[in-house]
Symmetry: none
Amino acid sequence: MREAKRKRLESRGWKIGNAKDFLNLSPEESAFIEMKLELAESLRAHRERQNLTQVELAKLVKSSQSRVAKMEAGDPSVSMDLLVRSLLALGASKRKVVKIISPLKRSSAI
Amino acid sequence: MREAKRKRLESRGWKIGNAKDFLNLSPEESAFIEMKLELAESLRAHRERQNLTQVELAKLVKSSQSRVAKMEAGDPSVSMDLLVRSLLALGASKRKVVKIISPLKRSSAI
DNA sequence: TGAGTCTATGTCCATTCTGACATATACTCA
DNA sequence: TGAGTATATGTCAGAATGGACATAGACTCA
């Protein structure tokens, strides 16, 4: 719990300041964290783009809302595997932007 | 042990034939496996280009020869995290790695 | 032939990650 | 106000993955 919290804070630090040497991280470690954060942001962006809630995405990837929240928060407890899998699931998802437009044209939206 | 072997064979199958529906894998699962195999190949390529043995690479990434062998073999027991970390440790650029694992950019799905 | 080197495979136990649950916060709307 | 909905955070038991070890196979060289 100590370590977990520290790591989470570190991630946040990266997200905001993006300082090179925020803490004693090797270049590879930094690159790895940055990649995970990019995936996390991308995940949120794509989810919102498709007007899905975290609960819906969770169902889509057979996970839970809380884990989706952690994915998007760049929580250190989520693996790159899970992030990538989720992105793939979102990409393959055929549920579209229908929700907003549906009153006008029902169902036609792809 | 049963399941593990099955998955390993599947991976091999993909590597060779790259048949779409070799076994009942969803498109996302297939894409994910293919990504891991690309990372695995890339890892071996990088290592060999630098004339390192598996033992030396293992030392570099604080792992063991057997695990390196499994990484390069695309064994299902190795995570994408480990593959990416190892590639970065070998000096692969973040950009290059992202190119392999960033799903939605390459598959055009939104 | 046999020793040396490199890689592959199986197994074990410890560490890490995951889904699920509980709970809290924030926002909207009536 | 309070109910409804969406997201955030903590926790934990079980699943997935990790390093290490043993061992086998393939190859070279003397």
